[in-house]
């Protein structure tokens, strides 16, 4: 080993002082900082997403927990609430309890006479189930018939969503300057020097924006047009479209360019309501100092009102694209101004079953269905899982069969949940002929689904019990089984339970297999047994999420909040259990 390679200079030492070396070191540390930043960024993205998800759902879901009602004084007549003029329970059950409510509403808005307006007022402001509370009260005390009763009547879902501010953006301003109104009903003229200038400017700006959008779209089409070969017949049609769009945009710009010219408000522009003298006027055209309008709720008097005694309400969503017309909203605004509208905690959300009417739909069916399903799952998979774990951990000889079972369990844990649905459909429904949509089948399928989880958790818990315990029991002459069942299993129980709770939480949120075994039907009644048709909480969420009404969106998010609270409690329980019984042997 004395060759030239041992020359001390052959391996160069690092020159730590040179500029190049310093620069390299700086580069290396920059790379280090960058790498570290990627890690933080990754976690931040995950955290941000979680915050967004939970925040979005809470914001969307909170309206589901309250409901709006209108306070009405009604005088129920026997002829309305009884089918045959008697006060027998059957006769009262079939009565029309919405009729007295309708009469009371009619008193509130006596000017509503047209067929269309009456339909709107009676059936689109009030909920279809508004009379239910009154029915309950009268059936409990028929003496109320013929006497004035104050009831809090449930509002329809759209009205409810409007009052919660979810249907349209709404801006309310106190009027500036005095306002002169030409009449109390019908078409009126409103004069107020300069009061409408800001609103008009906003409308003009919207026109400019729309013109710009049209021009941009036309520009894109024109660009694509260039790609078409000359002489292509599509070229001419497209060119005509572009020209039409451009002239429309030019017209809009011309309107926008004249700041004092009045603008007509239609169903495709935001609506402007003016609340004055106890009535509501909808503006149909607007200039800087004068506006034309139509009275939606009659005014007390016409004439001039002073500054501050009137207000404007801007509804940002155009009338044409929302579920409530300005007339509906004017009634609601009027009732709200009179203090008749109240907000209550929606106990109905937890105590009633599903419904086609969003304001009447509740979670009870889903909750009970989930409870029954979870009961079946727990009863089946806990004993089976623990028994399997005991066998594999304590008694199984190490051979190829147990090896196979082990590999099999690990793989089963990773099988997609929908495949378990196929199993349930083919085996439990078609082969064993068990009832469709029943919690029994749902529970069976979910039990098979979480079985691997429970076996794996139970085995870990059993493994954590030190062998000394087992040996001590065997040492005093216990059989192997006695040692396991008397000593090892009780010590492993907290761990097993923790695993079970986590598995059950997983099962509670599982949806896909339940869809395949038919737990997706629309079911109003709360299931009474494990063989009746039922739905489950996550399936209810899925069903509601498919419905178009915004109120159902809120219900969906509300149901998700309930589900997440359940999962949170279950997982919290598992953590507490683990902390409490965590033992170090």
């Amino acid at each position: 080993m004395t060759d030239a390679a041992l020359d001390p200079g052959a391996v160069r030492a690092i020159d730590l002082a040179s500029d190049a070396s310093r620069a390299r070191l700086r580069r290396r540390y920059r790379a280090e900082a960058r790498f570290r930043a990627y890690g933080i960024a990754a976690l931040a993205v995950a955290g941000l997403f979680l915050v967004l998800l939970v925040g979005d759902i809470v914001i969307k879901g909170l309206p589901a927990f309250t409901e709006s009602r209108v306070t009405l004084t009604v005088t129920p007549q026997l002829s309305q609430v009884s089918t045959d003029g008697t006060t027998g329970a059957d006769a009262l059950r079939g009565g029309d309890y919405a009729a007295p409510l309708r009469a009371s509403l009619q008193e509130l808005f006596p000017e509503v006479t047209s067929r269309q307006d009456r339909r709107r007022l009676f059936f689109e402001i009030l909920s279809g189930g508004a009379g239910d509370d009154l029915r309950r009260r009268i059936m409990a005390d028929p003496g109320l018939i013929g006497r004035p009763v104050t009831v809090s009547a449930l509002l329809d879902d759209s009205a409810d969503m409007y009052l919660k501010g979810r249907l349209t953006g709404r801006v309310e301003r106190t009027g500036r300057g005095t306002l002169a109104i030409s009449g109390a009903t019908g078409d009126v003229t409103l004069d107020s020097p300069g009061a409408f200038r800001d609103t008009l400017a906003t409308i003009k700006k919207a026109l400019r924006d729309e013109a710009a959008a049209i021009e941009a779209a036309a520009g894109r089409v024109a660009q694509r047009l260039e790609a078409l070969p000359v002489g292509d017949p599509r070229r001419a049609t497209a060119q005509a479209g572009v020209d039409a769009d451009r002239s429309r945009a030019a017209a809009l710009r011309a309107r926008a360019a004249a700041p004092e010219a009045p603008e007509v408000l239609g169903t495709d522009t935001p609506s402007e309501l003016v609340a004055v003298n106890g009535g509501i006027v909808k503006l149909t055209s607007i200039g800087p100092s004068q506006a034309q309008g139509r009275v939606l709720v009659p005014l007390g008097t016409a004439g001039t009102v002073s500054e501050g005694a009137w207000r404007t309400i801007t509804l940002l969503q155009p009338e044409g694209s929302r579920r409530l017309t300005d007339q509906h909203i004017a009634w609601l605004e009027d009732m709200r101004a009179e203090g008749l509208v109240t907000r209550h905690f929606a106990t109905r959300f937890f105590t009633s079953g599903d419904s086609r009417e969003p304001e009447l739909a509740g979670l009870l069916g889903g909750l009970v269905g989930s409870l029954l399903t979870m009961f079946v799952t727990l009863v089946l998979c806990l004993p089976t899982g623990v028994a399997a774990a005991i066998y594999l951990e304590e008694f199984a000889p190490k051979n190829r069969i147990t090896d196979l079972i082990e590999v099999n369990i690990n793989n089963l844990a990773a099988v997609p949940s929908i495949v378990f649905g196929l199993l349930g459909l083919a085996v439990f429904l078609n082969f064993f002929g068990l009832p469709r949509s029943a919690p029994l089948v749902g529970g069976l399928v979910l039990a098979l689904l979480v079985l691997p989880t429970i076996i794996i958790a139970s085995r870990a818990a059993l493994k954590a019990v030190p062998p000394s315990i087992r040996e001590a029991a065997l040492g005093v002459g216990a059989s192997h089984q006695q040692a396991v069942f008397h000593h090892v299993l009780p010590m492993a129980m907290p761990g097993i339970l923790t695993g079970t709770i986590i598995g059950m939480a997983h099962a509670l949120g599982e949806t896909a297999p339940l869809l395949l075994i038919g737990m997706v039907a629309f079911i109003v009644d709360t299931p009474q047994s494990v063989t009746q048709a039922a739905t489950a909480l996550p399936v209810q969420i899925y069903l509601w999420s498919d419905l178009p009404e915004p109120a159902f969106q809120a219900k969906t998010a509300g149901a998700i909040i309930v589900l997440l609270v359940f999962l949170f409690v279950m997982n919290g329980l598992a953590v507490v259990l683990r902390r409490k019984f965590e033992r170090r042997w």
Partner: protein
């Protein structure tokens, strides 16, 4: 460049006090014994805590350059702990606190401004169990030059790899299979590969933490021979359990016991005429 390793717990309160004390403190008997070679590593009053437990008590020592210094002592006596202080490997253990002063060529290595990354380029280390990276033999050796950017061309890198492998006495055995995984070598070869890997960076000091404890006697003999050769160019500090090994390869020997440096001197003297009874007892096999 100030390092931002969160695990660096040095230079806290007590260190300042110790620094002050250093200036006036008389040298311990262990220090300044050797004049043949200049002291490469000097340690003064080094103490180490692992959490609440103190592992080293005021160790002061001068390690001469281009020679082999052996640390001996029973298990848990602090010799490995002290070794790991010399290239600040203890920084990677969150609960470890080091106080006192260690200088290499007069520069304080626990200075806040000193970068442990550069320190470790100057002070290489070989571990108890061979730990080649799961890469090819070539890549194992080339790893250091690559990260430190000491070579500029592939040709240069090839040269460094070859020189390092030659110095580690492994070249002839592996030159035809440089692209095979380093983990496929025998234990002794793996350890020599780790030595080659350390040499490739061009260190001045090489720390060896019981480098032969996982090897058979023949492989051990090869490594010992290698250590002897390497001492011509490098300052080598070796922790060993085997007194025979210490006697065979080292010029100086330090005996540690219960976290204290008990005795330090020329190997011959330690093994023939120890001045401390504990050293005597250990060497003669009364405990350990």
């Amino acid at each position: 460049m100030v390092t931002d390793h969160p695990e660096t717990f040095h230079n806290q309160g007590p260190t300042t006090v110790n620094r002050m004390a250093d200036l006036t403190m008389p040298l311990t008997p262990a220090a300044g014994l050797f004049t043949a070679n200049e002291a490469k590593v000097t340690a003064r009053d080094v103490t180490v805590h692992y959490g609440e437990k103190q592992a080293l008590f005021g160790v002061s020592i001068d390690i001469p350059e281009r020679s082999v210094t052996a640390f001996i002592g029973p298990s848990g006596c602090g010799k490995s702990t002290f070794l790991r202080c010399i290239n600040r490997m203890n920084d990677t253990i969150p609960i470890c606190r080091v106080a006192g002063e260690i200088r290499i060529d007069g520069a304080d290595i626990y200075d806040r401004r000193l970068d442990p990354v550069l320190l470790r380029a100057r002070v290489g280390m070989v571990f108890q169990k061979p730990n080649p990276f799961p890469k090819s033999i070539y890549e194992n050796v080339a790893y250091g030059p690559r990260i430190h950017g000491t070579t500029t061309s592939r040709q240069e890198l090839d040269e460094v790899v070859e020189t390092s492998l030659r110095k580690a006495g492994l070249w002839d055995e592996v030159k035809d299979r440089l692209d095979q995984p380093g983990t496929g070598l025998s234990g002794g070869q793996q350890q020599r590969l780790c030595i080659a890997r350390a040499i490739a960076v061009g260190p001045e000091v090489i720390l060896m933490d019981e480098p032969c404890s996982a090897l058979d006697p023949i492989a051990t003999a090869r490594i010992e021979e290698l250590i002897f050769e390497l001492a011509r160019n490098f300052t080598i500090v070796i922790v060993t359990h085997s007194m025979q090994q210490a006697a065979r390869v080292s010029q100086q020997t330090a005996f540690f016991h219960l976290g204290h440096l008990v005795e330090y001197g020329a190997t011959e003297q330690i093994f023939t005429a120890p001045s401390d009874t504990r050293t005597q007892d250990y060497i003669t096999g009364r405990f350990g």
